[in-house]
Point group: C2
Amino acid sequence: MGVRVERGVAPRTPLSRERVLRAAVSVADAGGIESLTMRRLADEVGAEAMSLYYHVANKEDILDGIVDVIAAEINEAAERVRRPAKGNRWKNAARARILAAREVLLLHPWAPAVFESRTAISPAVLRYYDGLMGLMREGGFSYDVIHHALHALGSRALGFTQELFTPAGGGGGPAAEMPAEMAEALPNLVGMMSEIAHDDPDSTLGWCDDQAEFEFGLDLLLDGLERMRRQA
Amino acid sequence: MGVRVERGVAPRTPLSRERVLRAAVSVADAGGIESLTMRRLADEVGAEAMSLYYHVANKEDILDGIVDVIAAEINEAAERVRRPAKGNRWKNAARARILAAREVLLLHPWAPAVFESRTAISPAVLRYYDGLMGLMREGGFSYDVIHHALHALGSRALGFTQELFTPAGGGGGPAAEMPAEMAEALPNLVGMMSEIAHDDPDSTLGWCDDQAEFEFGLDLLLDGLERMRRQA
DNA sequence: ACCTGAACACCGTTCAAGT
DNA sequence: ACCTGAACACCGTTCAAGT
């Protein structure tokens, strides 16, 4: 019984930038982005923290890299969406792509914040936006309006909106838990919540339907753009 | 010549939560949010890092606090906006308030990212949104549509959009600096940029007008909401 | 060529101790 | 009541050294 064999150390597949980035996505998926440290990531790939620097410049480079990995995943999903043959073609196609992108991002809840923290631009994100531009070109939009449209959509084009606050409190109780003095300063919020409580007494918790709200905002923008298209 | 006097140690104004938060805003304004460390902040107020914990729970509490400070600043600016007497009243009023909020945020470039990183809700932010709701109520909107509207506007209601990428590269050259293989994969982006270069040869750098783009997106949303109001 | 151990500078935070 | 010094655990990163 050879000692070496007994140790059971599987011949480690060598590290690479790609393997590091994939492991980083796994770590973030499992424990959130704040759990993604160089030491934790090294554990994940079965190496020491310092080994990572051979394949990756630094942590910023890793963050840039995982954004690109997720964006590539989004592109794959977007390409699988088949183009509608009838109806408002550019709009239906753009809508479907964006919702496909959203589905990918829902699997990586940490990703939106990292996307927004990047200063470098991900090539895969560029490719995604380029595809959206293509749909709008086919629909007859000018580059000028397309440019405005991309700004107006912003991160929504990639399938996410960063919520500043959830009106009814995401999981916490709303009006009931609010101090009285505070309620006085927020008559409209209180009014809205009591109307909801009246209409649907069970809905205080988890009231906002993120998906429905996302689609509402998306359609508001796409419909506005469509109107501009028809006027041009 | 008394030694004590000669030391020239001014009788330090005592620390307080408010003083700590105001100093934190100063530090972030001067050096960006990443320069805001407990030790640096302590320097700013002329104390040791550990003293801060007497007035503030921890760093998260400071971040929650400075968001509230900025939001209060926004509320002051929003209240100074006088209500339009004619035209589309709710819309013009909302638009003016939002642009006033934006002006405040432009003075604190670090703030948007911190706003979005908060999990606790700032009372001052709630007050701001409540005011916006009030305008919409006066315009005749139902709570239901108002709720959708707040989600659709998102951070734009507070005057900012977090740009994912600047189409023409914020300050860096665009098409010219792109590797040829990459350009092939981005036909629409390249097309757009060459059209711009043709129309206005000097505009490659700093091409996107953030303020104009912000207003374009804002009007797209407000106009869409106004249309819903008239249909109801 | 690829990986690692030891070490450094710098975080946020605790705790016992000072006035 | 308010502030501080020393210390701890944990970061990202460097560098010289191993195979």
